[in-house]
Symmetry: C2
Subunit: 344 residues, 2 copies
């Protein structure tokens, strides 16, 4: 496609969408209240016509650079790359890029800043910080430097309302209910001892669910830097005990593959003898044999909502509340389809 | 993980890797000749220790900002988002983010600039421009503004050597040879009429291959903005003719699904009656029923090589040559596994 020959203006957009230029401006700047249908129609016209707000106009009015940053943590399994090629981080990135561009913003991808110098390097209007840990030093450095921040998932022990996520507890409860439907009577959990809200929420959901159904809790820890082999070891111990679980869930990415390996080594059939569920989805689970049931934590929705919430914060919104985009989607695959496996 | 408490220095990296600080500096700045094993070892230490070159030191010496941009074209199917959620663009993005961060650079994600104002907004050291079209106006605008550019795939009709890609012709020939192995005797191609090197290369590879094997060329065009339905229409016409093809390949993302639909509607079995291959891979092809054979065009390798080539250009390398990262990988799936389908 050739780029448009002459610059599309806000009037062209307003006229094509049947609204006033002010409405277009409000929508693009995430100001005021606009009917969702109108908003969707206007954004479609913005995209169709390829219109983006003039930076100079925005800059003069708002003092903004027109750039926001997405800071990804260095994941423990990322090896010699800064970015783990997990589906979650990939989709988070793509969702943020897409949302930023829809808003007429550029997106700067950066590692989570470690100190004031790193923060100074972020010449942006605001930052989406992914998975802050308890007492997060990056967030403190950003705050010291007056940088507007929105986090993906909340920070443990913080009451900062500027965060976006899914309802982790509801998501995990839904997966546990599904296991119960499929006949599970003793569900174990493999989790990690890490200062993230994610692990607190998943462990709390598991504990409540066990209490509600009168099940004994059966928990083991895996090493997030080495999830597959440590999960295989922990599962082997559990599954060789006198009272083995008939289902195992895990909230650590990659650990489900270790559970699967342990089951295979012990001659257990999945899902007939053992059901397996992962609270984090990824391509490796989809292509495992059998494919493993997992929670889609809606990373693209989360990233988009985080970019929009950051826009609100940058624009001076003083009425913040966390944005929960959903309860995740349970992707039911063979590893927990005991009913149909028995039938077939 | 807590960010490191005290700043890691280049001496720490050099000492841990058993090389001199100069070698570390050369590797990070992509200067001089370094043994690949040493390079890999040093980059691993850089990542393990979380070291990044001080921006001030770099800036003082080189006048650099420490930021490069990845400019993605607006794809015809991207609807109301700037970024198509195709696996190719996603992996290209992730590869570029990862490579930039490994180099101590930040990565700015931006739509392909349409004019000088867009270019002025790119306050970066250089740009990776994806899929330039013939006489690309974005590239002209970047050149007018003195911006160092590397493109992903070459620009049609340009002899600019600063580009990175896979060997498109070899990749397509490999797929055609595989079809021949599986007994294809009449292979059709669905392609698009667009000013990109990609389509020129795939069409040339198909023409040479047909000539070499004495096959008649059988080509139809599909609409890149609407590939599935236009491919279904074109396939229906071809497959209903007196001399129908027994295999169809396409170089348009998404078109293979239309071929599959047409085959199903005509009661043809895939792969027994018709084999289908896509020259662009994606998740929808993997999960199609049956899964469709496709070329993995190595987007992460291409993006990484583009970032490294851009570093060389920014650093004043005056001996450029295109970088071909490979011939792609043929992902053989059920849609072309006629031999095993017959056996089973």
């Amino acid at each position: 496609m050739a780029p448009p020959k002459s610059r599309v203006t806000i009037k062209d957009v307003a006229s094509a969408a049947g609204v006033s230029p002010t409405t277009v401006s409000d929508i693009v700047n995430v100001k005021g209240r606009v009917d969702p249908e109108t908003r969707a129609r206007v954004l479609k016209v913005v995209a169709d016509l390829g219109w983006r707000p003039l930076r100079s106009a925005r800059g003069l009015r708002t003092g903004r650079r027109g750039i926001i940053a997405l800071c990804l943590p260095r994941r423990p399994r990322s090896g010699d790359s800064w970015v783990l090629t997990s589906d979650y981080d990939m989709r988070l990135t793509i969702g943020a890029v897409s949302a930023a561009m829809d808003q007429g913003q550029l997106l700067l991808m950066a590692p989570t800043p470690a100190n004031d110098e790193d923060v100074a390097r972020l010449e942006v209007d605001g930052v989406v910080l992914v998975d802050p840990e308890e007492g997060d030093l990056s967030r403190l450095a950003l705050r010291r430097n007056g940088m507007p921040v929105v986090t993906v998932d909340r920070e443990l022990g913080s009451d900062d309302p500027w965060w976006v996520g899914v309802d982790n507890k509801a998501a995990v409860s839904n997966m546990l209910d599904h296991l119960l439907d499929q006949g599970a009577q003793r569900v174990a959990m493999l989790t990690a001892d890490s200062p993230w809200a994610w692990f607190e929420d998943t462990q709390a959901a598991y504990a409540s669910w066990c209490a509600k159904h009168g099940f004994e809790k059966l928990t083991a820890l895996v090493d997030r830097a080495n999830p597959e082999s440590t999960a295989a070891e922990a599962s082997t111990v559990m599954l060789s005990s006198d009272t083995p679980p008939d289902a195992v869930i895990t909230d650590v990415y990659g650990a489900a593959l270790g559970v699967l390996r342990a089951a295979r080594d012990l001659g257990l059939r999945v899902p007939q003898d053992l059901m397996i569920g992962s609270a984090v989805d990824g391509h490796v689970l989809e292509t495992a044999s059998p494919p493993i049931t997992a929670l889609d934590l809606q990373p693209m929705d989360v990233a988009r909502a985080a970019v929009l919430l950051l826009e609100r914060r940058i624009n001076g919104d003083d009425n913040p509340a966390p944005v929960i985009v959903g309860e995740g989607y349970l992707r039911i695959r063979t590893s927990t389809q005991r009913t149909s496996a028995v039938r077939s």
